[in-house]
Each structure stands twice: as C-alpha cells, then as structure tokens.
Symmetry: C2
Subunit: 197 residues, 2 copies
DNA sequence: ATCCCATGTGTACGAGCGTACATAACGGGG
DNA sequence: CCCCGTTATGTACGCTCGTACACATGGGAT
C-alpha cells in the first residue's frame, strides 16, 4: 500500500496499458483495466493520462520503439552489399513469426490512427522512420513504396489468416527495387517525400 | 408506432449500422445506437443480431459490395488494352477523393478483422474478390501483390494524413507489373494463391 | 523547519452497455 | 376460422465506464 512517491509510476502505467491491449485489444482498454494491471488505484491512471487517447499515444510510441529495435538487430538491412529484398522478407517473417500477441498489439495501435487523429502523428513518425531507414539503400520514393507493400503484406496475413509466404514477399520487394535507376539513390523518384516533414 | 410486420427490418438495421459506424466509428456501435438510428426498439436489434459481431459481419459484407460497384463502374480495369496501373491509380484516387466518411467506414470494418476472427472470412472474401478481378489481367501472384500495395498505399494516406499522390501510385503499380513475364498470365508466379480457397 | 504543490488515493455519480425475459401482435398452415 | 411459431416490444438488472472531487502525503524550495 505504501506506494507513495513512485517515480516510475507513469512508465509502469504505459507498460500495463500495452499488456492490456495485447491481451484484450483496444476495446478492452480503460482507465480501470490499466489501473488493475499496473496495480495502482484508478485515480492514478486518470491523473497521469487524462484521456485514453493520451495513453494510447504513449503506448503506440513505445511499441514503435520496439519495432525499431527488431530492425536495428539486423544490421544487414543497412549493408549495401546485402540482398535487401531477401533481408526485408526475412525480418518481416521473423517479426510475424513471433508471438501473434505482440504483432497484433503493434498493428492494432497503429491502425487505430484511422479514427483517432491524436495517433496519426505517431503513426506518421513510424512510417517516416522506417522509410528513412530504407531510403539509405534506395531513394525516398522507392522507400515509401517498400513501406507500403510491407504494410500491405502484413495486413493480408493478419486480416485473412493467410500464412506468411517469405518467398512471395521477397519476389514482390525485388520487383519494386529492380526498376531501372533505383539502386543508386537517384531513381525515378521525381516526387518529393510528400509531406514527410 | 404501428411498425409491426416490417419485412425489411433486418436490412434497415444493417443500413443504420453502417451509418452509425460511418459517423461514430466501431467504438460507437451498440445495439442501442443502431436501434436509435434505424428508429426501431432495442429488442429489435438484439433479436435480429444477437451479437455485435453478427451485425458487423453483415455490415462489412454490404460495404464490400459497395466497393465492388466502384470497381465495376470502371470497365477499363478489365480492358486488356487499357493502361492497368494508370487505371488502378485513378480509381483509387476517385475512391479516396470521395467523402472521407465512406472510406473510413469501409476500412475500419475491414481492419476490425485484426481482432475479430468472425470478420476475417469476410475480409478474405474481399481481398480474394479484388485479387481475382486483377488476376484476369496478370497472374495470381502479381494480383495479390497489387492488392497488397493498394492496401498499403491507402493505409499510409489514411493513417498519416498524407495526401494521395496518384502519380506515385501509378509508378509503384507499374513497377510491380513491369517484371518480365507478368502480363500474359504466366508470370514468375511459381507460388499458388496461398490458401486463397 | 516550514510551506506548497505535484503527486497519490478513495469514493461517488450518472450514463451507456449487453442481456434477459414477459408479453403482444401478426400471418401462414391446419 | 383458429392456432402457433416467428417477429416485435418494453422494461428491468447488473455491470463497467469516464469523470469529478475532497482529502492525504511527501519532498524540494525557501
């Protein structure tokens, strides 16, 4: 009970929120459910996060960092000598092959931006971050396209219960990258990052 | 009040549910809100749709038909002489350019399949349907890839408040289709439709 | 040492929810 | 015509929710 002066209270609430979303989905997220999961009183969650949107923003931001770590764990993605499509397909397979809970969690928070404008900047940050990472290997336009097709493939796997086909992903990614002039950073990308700032 | 014996009650409830989702999102969908929108008593919605999942399945199925009509309104998509990437990019632009409410509605119901297994077969039907439509112009594997990238592009537009760039979409689609041997229906598609049945 | 405010706690209220159920009307099959 | 199952209706129960608020507490600034 003597939990007075808990300097990491806020962080523990975010962690609890992520666990709640992972287990029960956003629909099961409430000040009360998070309070119970974090083992803090109700007033504590409402104090640190006035609205649930605030809480979701913090949770999504943290979940995004989690994905960034997965990418960072594969330095081959930055190696100019490596086979980029194959590496991307492999990383995606690893991520999707992990526990479905974590994948669903990140995607659910990400997709929630559709109806919650507060989440859109965070979702944009993520897309921008992955795009910037890939842009180092190609050009900005191609990088954006890669992010889009990665998203699309994940969506099909998650939404239609189709098993992930790494070979298929590699093939599609290869096609996007094999267009003339896309490997040296000066591809046909005549289009700016389109409000990427 | 004398609404007894209303043979189209069920259909009117589905229509009302779609309007509710369009206006307030899935989070605002309840037996009560739909009943109010359809101007029927609460007991009527619970009678025709025991669970909200039942109602969402019916709504998503109907929304999907709506999209199919948009596609059907562009016979050029089936014309072997037409520029498929350009046509696809144009149709997508028209769809995204319409009232955001309708687009959000369809996507929200579609994405809801992530956490609601009951919706997944319907989502799969949609992807399969669009895929089959495109497969007539290429091969099954390429068609699946087109659906994926279409989904990904929509997602980026809707989730990050980025304006739709038709030229960019056309370019990406072109790359996917310009791979050798993909225009005659016998492309590198060494992979089956991957549980498309 | 004292004060003050950010932080933490407990409780209550009103609203909306799914669900259950008793009852009423309708209309096709006997 | 009557009967009976499908359809329609109204109401109530128990639950969870966001919100508000009064009160406790402890540590950093003075």
């Amino acid at each position: 009970m003597p939990r007075r002066h808990d300097p990491e209270r806020r962080q523990r609430i975010i962690d609890a929120a992520i666990r709640v979303v992972g287990r029960k989905g956003i629909a099961g997220l409430s000040h009360r459910s998070v309070a119970a999961e974090a083992d803090v009183p109700l007033g504590s969650t409402t104090y640190h996060f006035t609205t649930l949107d605030d809480l979701m923003v913090a949770a999504l931001r943290q979940a995004n960092e989690g994905f960034a770590q997965v990418v960072a764990a594969h330095p081959a993605l930055s190696d100019p000598e490596a086979d980029l499509p194959a590496e991307l397909a492999r990383v995606l397979g690893e991520w999707l092959g992990g526990d479905r809970t974590g994948v669903e969690l990140e995607y659910e928070l990400y997709l929630a931006a559709l109806r919650r404008p507060a989440l859109r900047p965070v979702a944009a940050e993520w897309a921008e971050g992955v795009g910037a990472l890939l842009a180092a290997r190609t050009d900005p336009t191609t990088a954006r396209a890669l992010v889009a097709v990665l998203d699309g493939i994940c969506l099909q796997v998650l939404l239609t219960d189709t098993p992930y086909d790494e070979e298929y992903a590699r093939e599609v990614l290869t096609r996007l990258l094999s267009a003339p002039g896309t490997r040296d950073g000066r591809g046909p990308g005549s289009h700016p990052p389109a409000a990427a700032g």
